[in-house]
Symmetry: C2
């Protein structure tokens, strides 16, 4: 077995852990990353940005300057105002108007999800989630054990807003709804403009906070609809990240939230890690100040666009006619639905054994009570066009044989 | 009023927050840091290490090398094994024998406290705390709203282990006890060797996890008793930090915990921020690998020792005979008890107004139901000997007048 099954981790010693921890499972995705990071494996599994595109030299320069200029870069300090100003300017590029007082620096987007969950969710609370959800959000929720109200997702237009409305009109009052409107992880779909408007309208009418997770917003091709936060500033809690536009190891992200909640957000954030690295905040601000980002984003869009188009073309060429997949305009992932009955966990064992190619089985993203066993997620950001063409052909071959044999 | 009173933060909009957040107060200490960081104030308030002692150049070199050598420094990655090896070696210097599998990298010690709290504490749980407690621990606990079982502390020998035993023999089964055995924050006291043995014995007998917070362990003068983790590896969860021995802006710390709990600790940590910065982990490992730490620690011990002795001598010279204070052998703080009835919050307003000198009122550290209104905490790490001699004289003058007038 490549994956451990759903059995809870058994404790080896007589510790009395918090109830959620007694039941804790490591995210299947995080486990898999260990398995599929073998150097002989061609992996479409992870969610890694392309290492060769990191602005390594420019960031090293910014870091050196900051460390040379001011010892306060190594000290405790309040959120770094010049970085917050840069984030306000970045948000304007996404069509979002916000103030310095609405921006909260976090230690990556994961901490933003954790902080917002702590802020909004009571132990006996409910949340609205799509049937497949980014595993980081599932991990942030796990300690709280909320009741989950599932929402289906259309692979062309995104989250099914009718289902959201049905929950709300029948009396549900969830603590929040979680959404990745732009280039969904794992689905790759973007929420249509019309659905964005409707979702925000429901949030406003019912007082439903939306956590809008937008790691890929700056990477989309051409014209995309505005993020939810551009449509509503009262109920949309926007989460941004430097992980995909600069580098994950910075562990730097941000929240745009109503200023009225600043005291509570500050308390919740300080409980997590006191503050985010002053050094990183200053180095990123210096990098942005030097004007490196626009050119870097163009290079990323160009490279990821090429890889994305190569993957879509290869899927059309090599995957069986029964397969369906999303057609993303950005982000890092394509979602593939094979005929019902195909078990992609077992398929993965075969593709690794026979072709040394890896992906993530859809199961890894399914919320409790839902299933995506016949689906898989493919990452296109961390492989060359040649690797993509070769790897998708090899995957297609195994899947084709599977459909004939099984 | 310098400080806001204990009223909860009122929400300005009709958000339904988690119950704890509706009641949230910003740590008095964190609020104060804003107030007393005015440049005209001579501050003994914060807990800042000395900025002029940061190994800025050596760290900049390590960072530049790491950023130049390997783009993986900017990527997602598993905990960096060479750093874990360095931590195992550091722990050996503290008399602690541990394995790589027992070391968990965290984003500063605050995250370690947060993760251990989540791991060990249920919503209806209990914890054993001293009557004055580091505010970061109180912040980590706040979202869980535990029942607190208070333990008194002797200003010469540390935590009153008899009281701990009384709680346990009368049936209390707290989720954990929190301790800073070496150079307590805020008290400055170190737990005596005999009490360390007894505390660990109780933990073993009753299955009581101890969170041993050890930010100052590497800074103590001369011979100190071993940390609790050196006495017991089953029930002591050791928390270490690079904040005070290298720099706070690294936001890097570690837990030494039983290997049996590795899966649950990993899950809890990933829920917080996925992982700690690969870049910082590699830069700190390179700094340590280059052999910079021993010399740096000597310089810190020498400088902080000088400042500590200057503060203790100045207190003896300038503070009224009715005052009592701790005599730390390390750390960063001296705790002063004035005669009961003195309100150090009001005193602080006066020392700022009349002498532009600041400290932290004891109240900031008191757990609910306990009080330390006549006490204050003085920091000696972030002021020169001349500033300490001058500032303590000025504080002593205001206190002397207060005792005569009020």
């Amino acid at each position: 077995m490549l994956l451990t099954d759903d059995a809870p981790i058994r404790e080896q010693r007589p510790y009395h852990l918090a109830q959620w921890a007694e039941q804790a499972e490591r995210s299947v995705l995080r486990q898999m990353i260990d398995v599929v990071s073998r150097p002989d494996i061609l992996s479409f599994a992870g969610g890694l940005p392309a290492l060769e595109l990191f602005p390594q030299e420019a960031y090293a320069e910014a870091m050196a300057r900051v460390l040379h200029d001011d010892a306060r870069a190594l000290q405790y300090g309040p959120p770094y105002k010049p970085l917050k100003e840069q984030i306000v300017a970045l948000m304007a590029q996404r069509g979002v108007s916000c103030t310095l007082q609405q921006v909260f620096i976090t230690t990556g987007a994961q901490q933003a999800l954790d902080v917002l969950t702590r802020l909004l969710l009571n132990p006996d609370g409910e949340v609205l989630l799509e049937e497949v959800v980014y595993t980081g959000m599932q991990q942030a929720l796990a300690p709280h054990g909320p009741r989950i109200l599932p929402v289906s997702t259309d692979l062309q237009e995104g989250m099914d807003v009718d289902v959201v409305e049905r929950w709300l009109t029948t009396g549900a009052r969830p603590a929040f709804i979680y959404a990745i409107p732009e280039a969904h992880n794992p689905l790759g779909v973007s929420l249509s403009a019309e659905r964005r408007e409707r979702l925000v309208g429901l949030a406003q009418r019912y007082g439903l906070p939306i956590i809008e997770d937008d790691p890929y917003g700056f990477l989309s091709d051409g014209e995309t609809p505005p993020p939810l936060r551009a449509l509503n500033e009262e109920w949309v809690f926007y989460v941004g990240s430097f992980s995909k536009i600069l580098a994950p190891a910075l562990r730097l992200g941000w929240i745009v939230a109503p200023e009225a909640l600043a005291p509570q957000l500050t308390v919740a954030k300080e409980a997590c890690d006191l503050e985010s690295s002053a050094l990183t905040q200053r180095a990123v601000a210096a990098f942005l100040q030097a004007g490196h980002l626009p050119g870097h984003l163009s290079r990323l869009r160009e490279a990821y666009g090429r890889r994305r188009r190569a993957m879509l073309a290869s899927l059309a060429q090599h995957f069986p006619a029964e397969a369906r997949w999303t057609e993303p305009t950005g982000g890092m992932f394509v979602w593939v639905a094979l005929p019902p009955g195909v078990d992609t966990v077992a398929l993965l064992e075969r593709t690794i054994a026979e072709e040394e190619v890896a992906f993530i089985p859809g199961h890894a993203f399914a919320i409790p009570g839902c299933q995506a066993n016949h689906c898989l997620r493919l990452n296109f950001s961390n492989a060359t066009v040649a690797q993509i063409e070769d790897g998708i052909a090899r995957l297609g071959r195994v899947i084709g044989e599977w459909l004939i044999r099984d």
